[in-house]
């Protein structure tokens, strides 16, 4: 990372890190979640001694927001970043930010996930920013993500507040060449906290006075947007009747579609999406006969703009969401084309038949990796359960247990919700209830549900799927590195807590049976290191020899237990029923061996 201006091809997530350094951000916190984890990867690529700011993975998004806030009211420009649904976890804290005088400034980077590429929903967090009275900058590209972070930081510092940089999945993950600015020497760490900078106690009538301050800061945001030219009009000079209001990546979809048209409506691109600058909107609405609002997910802009037009007696025809489908999924160039063609058929031709069911292609759902300890666990646990038992899933790699051949985890909500849901399901229920919970999630939001189950004596068996990392999002560290889950649970007074390596499948089956027989909360910690992480580390060592599994074709009677019940992706099923090993995938862990009733699965180096 040089001190002089330079050009480099970077991902949106990576470009933001340069902006953090250029703006003198001093404290950065996060809880990992897609689409933002590459921000942390980029931060960690700077050696800690050279990194001009403090960085931590906090235990969850709420704590991350509090740590960043604490540093910011001490006078340091700070940043917290997390994924879309992370804002739900952080909200109790984040909703207070606009009331506070954050002297150092605070940037909240949230990665929304339209299309639910890697999330349990595609919630539109713009709904929340309106309530939380937060100023929101929305870039359309990696280049803009870099520039808008700097704007957000400047505004947050100037107004002593928090500002949001709203990213979406394909802005986070897009790559392009970006021109970066020079670096100034990093500012010194500040210790300027003083209650006189506040008030910082928002209780009863104080909260109302502080709210008035939040409203004033939003007014300043509109002026800031004007000064920086964040909301811009692209005029075609060809068609003054039609206009489009849009923002973010949808703006680029619109430009792509309009490359194919003869005439081009005027476009108002909003770079600041909360608060909206009424001045430019009124001007744009008044100068067009028909305005289409193109926004993916919810109709946030539409409702505000229609209200603005009504209040100002503007008779322009305003078109927003029409069908249910308009509220669902990313506004990709294809979807935008369809919407534009439906609105203005004379301008944009209806797309040709885009059916792609010409050939059948088998689906490829995500799955647990070769050697994954969770697979061994599900294979063993299934033997201890009866068909009537209810299994409750949680967030993490082990969520994938819901798929065949394991079919474990019949209901899923959000981070840490399994024990609470299982407790409710267990009430007055003759069926046994089993909850699954990952180790990072255990610390993130799992503990309150467990403590509740102890406190209210719920009859649930909890299986903690411990792999020693936050695997799903790319192997970030978690509190399990320094806190023993078993000791913690025993400290809560839970009598039945046992730990078992998941490769010891018979023992794990027995322990789950015993735990199910226990009245009250029982816990099995099903432990095995993440084998993806482990194998990657092993491969880097000199002299590493890759082992594999082999199948003795003479012994094999083609029960297919290995490929159908254990289900490791390393097995190859041939048309004639023969099973082979995909040597590109197999890591030679041997966890599949107990699955074969004929003992035909062995290590390739073994004498049989």
């Amino acid at each position: 990372m040089g001190n002089e201006p330079f050009e480099e091809i970077l991902m949106g997530n990576e470009a933001i890190v340069r902006a953090m350094v250029e703006t003198g951000t001093k404290v950065v916190t996060s809880y990992p979640g897609s689409p933002t984890p590459e921000i942390a990867t980029a931060i960690n690529s700077i050696p800690e001694e050279k990194r001009p700011f403090y960085f931590e993975f906090s235990v969850n998004e709420k704590v991350a927001s509090e740590v960043a806030f604490g540093a910011a009211v001490n006078g340091n420009l700070s940043c917290v970043f997390f994924k879309s649904v992370g804002l739900n976890v952080a909200l109790d804290t984040v909703v207070q930010f606009s009331l506070m005088n954050i002297i150092g400034g605070l940037v909240i980077v949230v990665g929304d996930d339209p299309g639910a590429n890697s999330s349990q929903n595609e919630q539109d967090n713009r709904n929340i920013y309106h309530m939380a009275r937060l100023t929101v900058f929305e870039p359309a590209s990696p280049k803009e993500a870099y520039i808008y972070y700097k704007h957000a930081a400047e505004f947050a510092k100037k107004e002593q507040t928090a500002a949001v940089l709203r990213l979406t999945t394909h802005v986070c993950h897009a790559r392009e060449k970006i021109g970066f600015g020079a670096l100034n020497p990093p500012p010194l760490f500040r210790n300027d906290f003083n209650r006189d900078n506040g008030p910082y106690i928002a209780l009863t009538s104080m909260a109302l006075e502080m709210k008035a301050g939040a409203i004033q800061k939003l007014k300043q945001a509109k002026l800031f947007a004007r000064t920086k030219g964040l909301n811009t009009i692209l005029s075609s000079d060809k068609n003054q009747d039609l206009g489009i209001i849009t923002s973010g990546l949808t703006y680029l979809s619109v430009l792509d579609v309009l490359e194919t048209t003869q005439t081009c409506p005027d476009i108002l691109k909003l770079g600041m999406i909360n608060p909206l600058d009424e001045e430019i909107l009124i001007d744009f609405l008044s100068s067009h006969k028909q305005v289409l609002i193109l926004e993916e997910l919810d109709n946030i802009l539409e409702l505000q703009i229609k209200s603005l037009a009504f209040d100002n007696g503007i008779n322009t025809s305003i078109i927003g969401k029409v069908d249910d489908d308009d509220f669902i999924g990313e506004y990709t160039p294809d979807k935008t084309l369809k919407k534009l063609a439906a609105t203005w058929p004379d301008l944009v031709s209806t797309p040709a038949n885009d059916e792609d069911a010409l050939f059948d292609v088998p689906a490829r759902p995500a799955q647990m990796c070769p050697g994954c300890g969770h697979r061994s666990a599900f294979f063993a646990i299934k033997k201890a359960l009866s068909a009537s038992d209810i299994t409750v899933a949680d967030i993490g790699c082990h969520t994938l247990g819901f798929m065949p051949p394991y079919n474990m985890g019949e209901i899923l909500m959000c981070m840490g919700a399994s024990t609470g849901m299982a407790s409710g399901l267990s009430l007055e229920n003759s069926k046994r209830v089993v909850a699954f919970l990952g180790d990072s999630t255990f610390f993130h939001a799992g503990l309150p549900g467990i403590i509740n189950a102890v406190f209210n004596r719920h009859d649930v068996t909890l299986i903690v799927m411990e792999n020693g990392t936050t695997a799903m999002t790319g192997h970030q560290d978690n509190a399990g590195e320094c806190i023993s889950i078993e000791a913690l649970l025993k400290g809560l007074g839970i009598e039945q807590v046992v730990t078992c390596d998941t490769y010891s499948q018979e023992r794990l089956t027995d322990l789950v049976r015993q735990s199910l027989a226990h009245k009250g909360l029982s816990v099995v910690i099903a432990s095995h290191p993440c084998m993806l992480k482990f194998t990657r580390a092993q491969r880097k060592k000199t002299g590493y020899i890759q082992k594999h599994i082999s199948i003795d074709q003479e012994t094999c009677t083609r029960t297919h237990a290995c490929v159908e019940q254990f289900g490791c992706p390393s097995f190859i099923r041939n048309k004639d029923g023969r099973v082979d090993i995909n040597l590109d995938l197999c890591i030679g862990d041997g966890s599949c061996r107990p699955s074969c009733p004929e003992q035909a699965v062995g290590f390739d180096r073994e004498e049989k």
């Binding site: 792509d256 010409l358 050939f359 088998p362 689906a363 993806l532």
Partner: protein, 192 residues
């Protein structure tokens, strides 16, 4: 430059990230304006990985419309079919490896593995030129991406890019023995 869309697909773990980044850099070294984006969702867990590179002066979004890829690159046979069907443009090309990482429905016996012949037939139906990369010489599966890259460079499938642009890109992204080995293999496949 006229718009040129590249759609790269395969399975998480096959090295699509490096392939895509090398291509984007090579295109940039050739002085062509380009933007790329990866979609990987839960790909680290054996799901589909898609990367798109869009070149040209009139390109805006990194996402491309269906059936608009001039070049589809597939590291895996099932994903070759999926990419061909969803992204391939009539008159374009498909470069693919005859490598199978069987998806779940195949392993469970619900359907059968897609064959190289089915890909060739599908290409004929859709008007796309198939180019199958012969991996016979390759020992290390982790370098299959270089075989694909070398083939693309050798056949000059991306307008305006020359072999030295690819070498410059590899120099940026790799180092030491890994760079040396990857370059050697790249050269071998480039020469055909």
């Amino acid at each position: 430059m006229k718009t040129f869309n590249i759609y790269i697909t395969g399975v998480g773990g096959q090295g699509i990230g490096l392939l895509s980044q090398t291509l984007l850099r090579a295109i940039d070294y050739a002085g062509i304006q380009a933007i790329a984006v990866d979609t990987h969702g839960l790909a680290q867990r054996g799901g589909v990985v898609v990367s798109r590179i869009r070149c040209g002066d009139a390109v805006h979004s990194p996402l491309m419309m269906k059936k608009s890829a001039h070049l589809v690159l597939a590291m895996e046979i099932h994903e070759a079919m999926r990419g061909l069907v969803t992204a391939g443009k009539e008159g374009g090309s498909l470069v693919f490896l005859d490598v199978a990482w069987q998806p779940l429905p195949v392993r469970l016996g619900h359907t059968t593995q897609i064959t190289s012949k089915e890909i060739l037939d599908a290409c004929q139906t859709t008007g796309i030129t198939p180019i199958k990369v012969d991996l016979g010489r390759l020992k290390d599966s982790r370098m299959q991406n270089m075989a694909l890259l070398g083939t693309i460079a050798g056949k000059k499938l991306i307008p305006g890019t020359e072999p030295h642009h690819y070498f410059d890109a590899l120099d940026d992204l790799l180092a030491g023995n890994v760079l040396k080995e990857n370059k050697r293999l790249f050269k071998e496949y480039m020469s055909g």
